[in-house]
């Protein structure tokens, strides 16, 4: 791949990161409601005015803005996000604990929904107007219209409340089992939240892939391939799909931020001990240090994912690769 392209995209990601850092800083300091009041609103129940003043000093909130920014940047870049007002633990360790469950949940949901979404999109577009196409398109639209949190509740009511097929929440049954038994236990806890996210996003991926493939199918080179006597199955595999996949994959990568966002409410519904639930609790308790840290982390993840998308794109598309 062109080094220039890679350098440009990396620079772009870094610039976005810088913007997010600055944005985060100003959001909490310059927007209406000064941080002291915000802190007080969130922590008033736990803290004396003296303690608030202490925290204010610890956070450097009594210093001038530019100086605050330097401190903020230094802390952020070294991974220090202060303490959680609720548990009095350091935010870093709270997040450190919650990060892996979310990676597991969001990762598996992304893979599954992408795979099946693309499959359904390809099958639908290729047989445009067929029964499969109309049902999958309608189903996709319905799923696309459903809020993930509510979808999670429905699955919970059906599969846990009515059929008792799956455990109700958490990540494991905490019975201390190990090995395969533990893996199976985690999987059975993972199944419903993961399915919720898959159902929430698969419709969008199906629609994107379908329209992208329909567009490519009208291109002249597909006609050329048919004129050459290439069988339909090969036309699809070596001409139509590779070209339709390029824009689709980018869009799928870009929509990672949404699936990550969706995990917040789904984790809350299923008490999945990840970043989402952490965020949900932090919102209820107005635990600003946690909210701020999660905001940064989510942004970082999305920026990294977008960079990955650009690099993948650059690798797959010769027009970019050899530029």
């Amino acid at each position: 791949m062109g080094r220039k392209y890679l350098a440009r995209k990396t620079l772009h990601a870094l610039a976005t990161l810088a913007f997010v850092l600055a944005f985060n800083f100003f959001l909490f300091r310059v927007m209406p409601g000064d941080p002291v009041r915000l802190l007080a609103r969130g922590a008033a129940t736990h803290m004396t005015p003296q303690r608030i003043a202490e925290i204010e000093h610890e956070q450097g909130l009594d210093r001038p803005l530019p100086q605050q920014f330097v401190v903020y940047a230094k802390n952020t870049l070294t991974g220090q996000f202060g303490i959680s007002f609720v548990t009095n633990e350091s935010v870093t360790s709270v997040i450190g604990r919650a990060i892996w469950p979310t990676v597991l949940l969001v990762g598996s949901a992304t893979l599954i929904s992408t795979f099946f979404g693309l499959w359904a999109g390809i099958k639908g577009a290729w047989g445009r107007g067929s029964l499969f196409d109309t049902t999958s398109l309608f189903g996709s639209l319905v799923l696309y219209s459903a809020p993930e949190g509510w979808l999670g509740m429905i699955l919970l009511i059906i599969f846990v409340g009515t059929f008792h097929w799956f455990p109700a929440g958490q990540m494991s049954s905490n019975t201390g089992q190990t090995g395969i038994a533990n893996v199976l236990d985690v999987l059975s806890h993972l199944f419903l939240p993961c399915m919720t996210l898959v159902l929430g996003y698969i419709g969008e991926y199906t629609i994107i892939m379908r329209s992208s493939l329909l567009e490519v199918m009208g291109e002249d080179f597909v006609m050329t391939a048919r004129a050459k006597g290439v069988p339909d199955r090969l036309v699809r595999r070596s001409h139509a799909v590779p070209n339709a996949l390029l824009p689709t994959l980018t869009l799928v990568f870009y929509s990672f931020g949404f699936i990550l966002g969706g995990s917040v409410i789904v984790e809350a519904v299923y008490s999945w001990p990840g970043l989402g639930q952490l965020t949900y609790r932090a919102i209820q308790d107005l635990d600003y240090n946690v909210i701020q840290a999660v905001f940064l982390l989510f942004s970082l993840a999305v920026i990294a994912f977008n960079l990955a998308a650009d690099i993948t794109y650059g690798y797959l598309d010769p027009r970019v690769r050899e530029a």
Binding site: L156, G257, Y288
Partner: protein
């Protein structure tokens, strides 16, 4: 629609005149006469889309429900203090969709909630469109440094996960209806801006824009007469889709407990049910119906938007 004049030395002449197309006296009124015709032609195309028509009918029903429905709901049915029902009643003849923890009728809550859900959807869309279309057109049309700056801003807002930003802003600004509308608008304009910018860029490259410049038209003239009319269809289809997204966004915020606690919305009803432990207690009537309403209204707007998009973007049309 036209036949040709038989004498070859004379330039071609349209012989057949459409019956309903007698030129009006004032040329200024001509444009409007034609626009009406263009609109009816558009309606003819739209009517052929089954999906679009189903969506449109559903959409109109929901709007009627939101406008007139609450007028028929007695105030005490949705009042915490004066609710007449017993708490947690399953559906019955008296309470078709059961009651909530205060004994309020869930059906009445849903009817009243439709208004807030749609108001938030439409108002947030207005914010999104003003920001998105304005920034998109400015970015695409002016190009150069303006574009570099606005485009970078757009890309940044595209990358920041909207939910994280919405959570941060909602917890700072506090959960009022106006704030929620602003937050949804501010977190979702970037997609519109990117779309509009792309369209403005292609329109800007069209020779008719160059022709307008060659005629001596300035920026204001060019934007008003050439860019805007040709970007408008894209904005229009996007607006309809954005209403759907805004209603979904309001639901998500409500489910996170960031909704306005003083007004009843569908998302808010589900959130209250969730907080009150309706899931483990099995009060399904309190959770499923408001969600179904959300799915249907979002589906209605999405279907309309999808049908509009297919008409406006002929690439996807049947070949």
């Amino acid at each position: 629609m036209q036949t040709l004049d038989p004498t070859p030395s004379e330039p071609p002449v349209l012989v057949e005149e459409p019956a309903d197309l007698v030129p009006p006296k004032s040329p200024r009124r001509i444009g409007w006469a034609r626009r009406r015709r263009a609109l009816s032609a558009f309606w003819k195309t739209y009517r052929r889309s089954r999906m679009g028509m189903v969506g449109l009918v559903m959409m109109i029903l929901f709007i009627l429900l939101a406008v007139f429905g609450p007028l028929f709901v007695p105030a005490r049915n949705v009042s915490v203090a004066f609710a007449t029902g017993k708490p947690f009643q399953p559906p019955s003849l008296q309470w078709p969709l059961g009651t909530d923890n205060f004994g309020r009728s869930v059906l009445s809550l849903i009817v009243v909630g439709s208004r807030i859900s749609l108001i938030v959807g439409f108002a947030a869309t207005v914010v999104t469109m003003v920001l998105g279309a304005g920034i998109g057109i400015a970015s695409g049309f002016y190009g150069g440094k303006t574009d570099t700056l606005l485009n970078a801003l757009t890309n940044w807002f595209l990358v920041i996960p909207w939910i994280a930003l919405a959570i941060v802003m909602a917890s700072i600004l506090g959960p009022t209806l106006l704030n929620i509308i602003l937050i949804i608008g501010i977190t979702s304009w970037a997609g519109t801006a990117r779309l509009v910018r792309a369209q403005a860029l292609t329109v800007k490259e069209r020779p008719y824009v160059e022709r307008a410049r060659a005629l001596g038209g300035g920026d204001v003239h060019t934007i008003a007469h050439h860019i805007l009319p040709n970007v408008m269809p894209v904005i229009f289809a996007n607006t309809v889709l954005t209403v759907a997204l805004s209603i979904l966004a309001e639901t998500t915020l409500s489910l996170l407990g960031l909704g306005d606690p003083n007004s009843i919305s569908w998302g808010g009803i589900i959130n209250e049910a969730f907080q009150a432990g309706a899931l483990s207690a099995g009060y399904w009537w309190w959770i499923i119906p408001p969600g179904v309403m959300i799915v249907l209204v979002v589906l209605a707007f999405t279907m309309c938007g999808y049908a509009l998009d297919e008409i406006i973007n002929p690439r996807l049309r049947e070949r």
